[in-house]
């Protein structure tokens, strides 16, 4: 079972993600800020992180850069209300990009795709 870290400053969104992704069979840990995310990351191993780009007064892009630097083995999917970031080179570090929607099908498909890719990579390295 894969463990996902969901970082979003909206409590209801965290709740929605947690419920929906648990239904898909994932273990889900949520964080409301970069600091909380860092704390959660120290406490366990995660297979993938889902990040919101706008985190109140913080930037999800900064957190993305930090994660890529410190946890490069953990893929990251950016999930944002801002479709324009999809074309922003700063978001290219992410393994996936999903525009927020009440229909989580795309997010779920993207998580499955990125995890499968990661698994393939690990398999190839072995």
């Amino acid at each position: 079972m894969s463990t996902l870290l969901v970082v979003d400053d909206e409590a209801n969104i965290r709740l929605l993600y947690a419920e929906e992704l648990k239904d898909e069979g994932y273990d889900v840990v949520t964080a409301a800020s970069s600091a909380e995310a860092a704390e959660k990351l120290q406490g366990g191993l995660f297979d993938l992180a889902v990040l919101d780009i706008k985190l109140k007064n913080e930037s999800g892009i900064d957190l993305l850069q930090k994660l890529v630097k410190e946890r490069h083995e953990m893929p990251v999917i950016l999930c944002s209300a801002f479709s324009c970031y999809k074309d922003d080179f700063s978001a290219w570090l992410a393994d996936g990009y999903v525009v927020k929607s009440g229909d989580l099908t795309e997010l779920k498909q993207e998580i499955a795709r990125v995890l499968a890719k990661k698994a393939q990579k690990i398999k190839a390295e072995l």
């Binding site: 909206e10 209801n12 969104i13 929605l16 929906e20 324009c84 929607s101 009440g102």
Partner: protein, 523 residues
């Protein structure tokens, strides 16, 4: 006998004797008698009488000379006034040439004006005035005598009624009256560089006169009068008496020389004024363009502000909408099919989905305010867009076809926006209601453009309905609500790309998009 005008003689007996007695037959008889009588005073009186006649004759000649000079001064004064008051080149030239040829002026039969074109390095025939033959001359001169107009009226009449016809009349001759300014051996350039008039006589045999010039003018004698202003060569006047053959005198030449200075000055001033006017127009035009640019900047700033506000509102709305829609879906997923509230939840899911669609369009609109253009392969764009939409199109039973043009050049567009537009046009097509579910797309190079044509044969609506769809936030039963086509139109217009949508109730909808192939600003 004291006649009219001689009243002053009544006052002075001495004056009366000097003026009248010499002509009196009684005095002549008395003098004759004195001579016959051998009176010694008789020869003396005869000498005095003879001297008096001589003096009177000289005085009359001087008065006549002064009268002529006074007329000349009056004419030059009138001419000067007209020339000084005008900055219109055509008017100045009309006055100058009228003055040369008018009987009240210098009375020459014909005159040509040549002007220096410094950029081309030539002296070029510009205007001619004068009759071609005796009949025409008689008619013109009769009119002048009959009308008895002053110089200003004559020149105004010439300008209004004859300038164009005189230009046409002498067009060929003026065309041939072109001399390079560096042809120092040519007599016209000699006169220009020498800054003094030259009177040419015996032109056909004159060593300095090119035979073609003599043939062109068709006269044996003519006057070359250079026009110089502030040491600058302005042009040349060639005048002759081709009809009357009256000899050109030294006096004619000097009078014309005097007249040449104000004419040259007036021509130069009028030319400079013309140039100034051109520059002024250019500056005014640049000012207007600057003003338009400033207005555009303000408009763009306003649009950017509108874009930022729209974007901010849209993003603020998206999160709650996502939460509502997401939880509604979650509830729907977990509710049994028999749950009576399932319909309500389905409605929430459908409405939030639609609202998310509207939000996407609004955000796309915000993006449309900032097109980023570059060169792209139009066929690649269309094929990629068709590939992305193929599943949906096939599922709905649509047949699509793309005919790419040969050797299409890259097009200068905002790739993202054009992709959105093409996708939107296809999406509208997908919602079609006709029986012929086919969409054909073609691209073709036409001049400096690449034309994309999309022919949707499925939808049959009127032009009025289609035009309504091109208005933002319009709504129709068939094509739904929102920005759709209107946004496409706006996006393309902002890139200066012409977009034509034509509807035919029998043949469907045809879209034409003309894409630029260069970076030149699109109108």
């Amino acid at each position: 006998m004291v006649g009219v005008g001689d009243e002053e003689l009544l006052v002075s007996k001495q004056q009366r004797r000097l003026e009248k007695c010499g002509e009196c037959p009684v005095f002549a008889n008395d003098l004759k008698q004195l001579h016959a009588d051998g009176n010694p005073l008789a020869p003396l009186l005869s000498d005095l009488l003879s001297e008096n006649h001589h003096q009177k004759s000289q005085i009359q000649s001087l008065v006549s000379f002064l009268d002529n000079k006074t007329l000349e001064m009056r004419f030059l004064h009138e001419l000067g006034s007209v020339l000084q008051s005008s900055v219109d080149l055509e008017e100045v030239l009309s006055v100058a040439l009228t003055a040369i040829t008018a009987g009240k002026g210098f009375g020459m039969n014909r005159a040509f004006l040549l002007l220096c074109d410094r950029e081309a390095g030539i002296l070029k025939g510009y205007l001619g005035i004068g009759p071609r033959n005796l009949d025409e001359a008689s008619q013109v001169w009769d009119e002048i005598v009959h009308d008895d107009n002053d110089l200003q009226t004559l020149s105004q009449n010439f300008r209004q009624n004859k300038l164009s016809s005189e230009r046409a009349k002498f067009h060929d001759l003026l065309e041939q009256l072109t001399v390079p300014l560096d042809n120092k051996d040519h007599i016209i350039i000699k006169a220009l560089d020498g800054r003094h008039p030259i009177m040419v006589q015996g032109a056909f045999q004159h060593p300095d006169v090119p035979p073609e010039l003599a043939r062109l003018l068709g006269v044996d004698s003519f006057l070359l009068m250079p026009l110089i202003s502030r040491n600058r060569r302005i042009g040349m006047i060639i005048a002759d008496n081709c009809i009357t053959n009256r000899p050109i005198t030294e006096e004619d030449m000097h009078s014309l020389e005097t007249f040449g200075f104000p004419v040259a000055f007036a021509i130069e001033r009028a030319s400079l004024y013309d140039k100034l006017q051109v520059e002024l127009n250019r500056v005014t035009e640049a000012g207007e363009k600057l003003k338009e640019q400033q207005e555009l900047i303000v408009r763009m700033e306003n649009m950017a502000l509108v874009g930022r506000i729209t974007s901010s509102i849209a993003h603020s709305v998206r999160n709650p909408l996502m939460i509502i829609g997401g939880f509604a879906r979650s509830m729907l997923k977990n509710s049994p099919a028999s749950d009576p509230k399932r319909t309500f939840i389905e409605s929430i899911v459908a409405e939030t989905h639609q609202l998310e669609g509207v939000l996407d369009e609004i955000l796309n609109y915000s993006d449309s305010l900032y097109p980023t253009r570059d060169f792209w392969d139009v066929s690649q764009l269309i094929e990629s867009m068709l590939r992305d939409s193929s599943d949906t199109l096939t599922a709905l039973g649509y047949a699509t076809g793309y005919s790419p043009g040969h050797d299409l050049p890259p097009v200068y567009i905002d790739f993202k926006q054009l992709s959105y537009c093409l996708r939107t046009l296809l999406q509208n097509d997908i919602n079609g209601v006709g029986t012929d579910l086919s969409i054909s797309i073609s691209s073709q190079k036409e001049d400096d453009l690449v034309i994309i044509r999309i022919e949707d044969n499925s939808r049959h609506i009127s032009q009025a309905e289609l035009d309504h769809l091109l208005v933002p936030f319009s709504e129709t039963r068939d094509l739904g609500a929102g920005l759709g086509l209107a946004l496409c139109k706006t996006m393309l217009e902002k890139q200066g790309i012409p977009f034509v949508a034509q509807a035919d109730e029998y043949n469907g909808i045809h879209y034409t998009i003309a894409l630029p192939t260069s970076k030149e600003e699109q109108s």
